[in-house]
Symmetry: C2
Subunit: 201 residues, 2 copies
DNA sequence: GTCTATAAAAGGATAGAC
DNA sequence: GTCTATCCTTTTATAGAC
């Protein structure tokens, strides 16, 4: 990806996306965004009324990028729908390991950092979670016949999100990948336990 | 509890505890703490070198209060050890409902808000999670004979934490208690599924 | 231990030329 | 669309009397 000649707005959003992930929203200053994106104050305020509008753009970028930036890379080479769920979780594991258990899910961090988000911000965070759960539920739905009829696939997908977010939270706090791995193992055991028969090899 | 004549340090810590819960650490200013605790700047800096030291005191208070302030109220009138786990989760549900799904676990929020906490802060957040998981693991251990020998009770207790924290995160974001309830229901189903026989009525 | 006043810095946002 | 300079507010922290 060529990074030098992107348009200014894109550079701002990408810089903010990374900084919010690294430091959080409140701890990222406009000056941080300006210096990382190599943009001047006037240009930022030409495109965005204020800092919160940059956040909105970042959350829109995450929402729009969930397929191409998150799911497709995680699922490349993985065909089995249930394995795709665990491949997705493995991509969060990678992020944790690569950052020495410092950074996990950017949406989750923002969701707990911002205590009284304005409606557009909250709605976009919800849209991100919804899209994630939709995708995971879709995986389980493709394997519908492996689960008992009464299994609530939506609730199962939400459990996967909880396991991921909770695992990230604990691993970050303990600076240890162990809690994340045990969380995923618990989900695996649960999915196996409710599966009707073994998957085709 | 008499609140007027508590000593100054205690008033500061209690005010900060509430404010960090309501607004987060970064969004709570020293001025906020001073006005809520009715203390003057000079007094706060007499007791604490800076804002982060107030946070340390708050986290110590949570850690020391987990028994008397969290577990004992949640467990009053509940004798069955496994039901105590769900009674604890119900106390988080209460916090969510009473605040219109705005506030959940203060430790979880701090854990995701603070991206690069200084060692004493991170260690205290870890100590809080550890104490929570210890308590829940203790409940499961009291019902050891209800679970297969190979069941990892520690991992099960960690799952309970993940379910709580994930459920809080989603319910807060969607401003809807549904995700939290479904998360707890999934844990209940999992615990029931691995239980060897029905509990005594 | 507590009070008031204030220093010192950071941060969000704006103005106006180009 | 971009640039520099700067205003204004908030915030952390300190000084020094009492």
């Amino acid at each position: 990806m060529v990074c030098v000649n992107k348009d200014t707005r894109t550079r701002i959003v990408e810089a903010a996306m990374e900084l919010f992930w690294l430091k959080g929203y409140g701890s990222t200053s406009i000056a941080d965004i300006l210096s990382r994106s190599q943009v001047n104050s006037g240009s930022l305020y030409y495109f965005f009324p204020g800092k919160q509008d940059v956040l909105v753009a970042v959350l829109e970028a995450y929402r729009d990028g969930i397929g191409p930036m998150l799911l497709e890379p995680a699922w490349s080479g993985v065909d089995d729908p249930v394995e795709r769920v665990f491949a997705l979780l493995a991509s969060y594991r990678r992020a944790l390991v690569e950052t020495d258990c410092t950074y996990g899910c950017p949406i989750g961090s923002l969701a707990l950092e911002l205590h009284e988000p304005d409606p557009p911000v909250r709605e976009l965070m919800a849209a991100n979670f919804r899209a994630w759960v939709d995708a995971v539920e879709g995986c389980f739905a493709q394997a519908r016949d492996r689960f008992p009829e009464e299994t609530d696939l939506r609730a199962l997908a939400e459990l996967a999100l909880n396991v991921m977010e909770g695992g990230v939270m604990q691993s970050r706090t303990f600076r240890d990948i162990g809690p994340f791995d045990r969380a995923v193992a618990q989900l695996r055991a649960h999915v196996d336990a409710i599966s009707l028969r073994e998957r085709a090899a």
